[in-house]
């Protein structure tokens, strides 16, 4: 009973870590897609492409801020 519980706990931990890894890897791709969609709307409204690209940089900034915040909180726990 104890051994099966330990194995089950270990499997759940692996599952959690894998899910978090997949989320981490897909994060960058999602940010890129959101940024492109954002730029498309601005260009449709008549804005120059270079201006739309510059404005959409906030997405990358926001992503960076969130990653930085998560990293710093993770180090704090340690």
């Amino acid at each position: 009973m104890k051994l099966t519980s330990l194995i089950s706990a270990a499997l759940h931990t692996i599952r959690l870590l894998l899910s978090l890894l997949v989320l981490w890897l897909s994060f960058g791709w999602k940010v890129r897609k959101a940024r492109k969609a954002f730029e498309r709307e601005l260009v449709k409204a008549g804005m120059a492409k270079k201006d739309a690209k510059r404005l959409s940089a906030w997405y990358s900034k926001l992503k960076g801020d969130i990653i930085q915040a998560v990293k710093s909180s993770a180090f704090k726990w340690h």
Binding site: L20, F27, K33, Y59
Partner: protein, 143 residues
Amino acid sequence: MIGEEEERHSKKKEEDVEELRELLSVVSKEVPALIKGIIASVFSEEAGRDMGRAAAAFYKELKEAGIPEDVAVKMTEGYISTFTSLGEVMKRAIGGEKHTETKKLEKELEKEISRKIREKLAEKGLAEKEEKEEGEEEEEDGN
């Protein structure tokens, strides 16, 4: 007696492991789903499109009002910066940094407390001085 204690200890360990297993089971399901939901609300293609539409509508209004291109772009940038403040908020919330206003309040509170302490000390100092003077007068009277 010792055997009973060992059995109790072992049972407790088993219960702890079982509890941990249940906790991990819930956490491994809920936490990724929660994070996925948070990411999707801001970083999905649909969210990007909606925010782009909002910024585009703002920009269009400015252009229709006759505002020059470069000014309209700058103003739209300012409008978009309200979204980036979310990053600052999250930074503070997760990183535990204090808000500027909270820092200001703490400084003011510190000053106020120091002032009160100084006042009290000054009062105490004066009171001691008066007591000393009274004591000296009584001595003189006694002599």
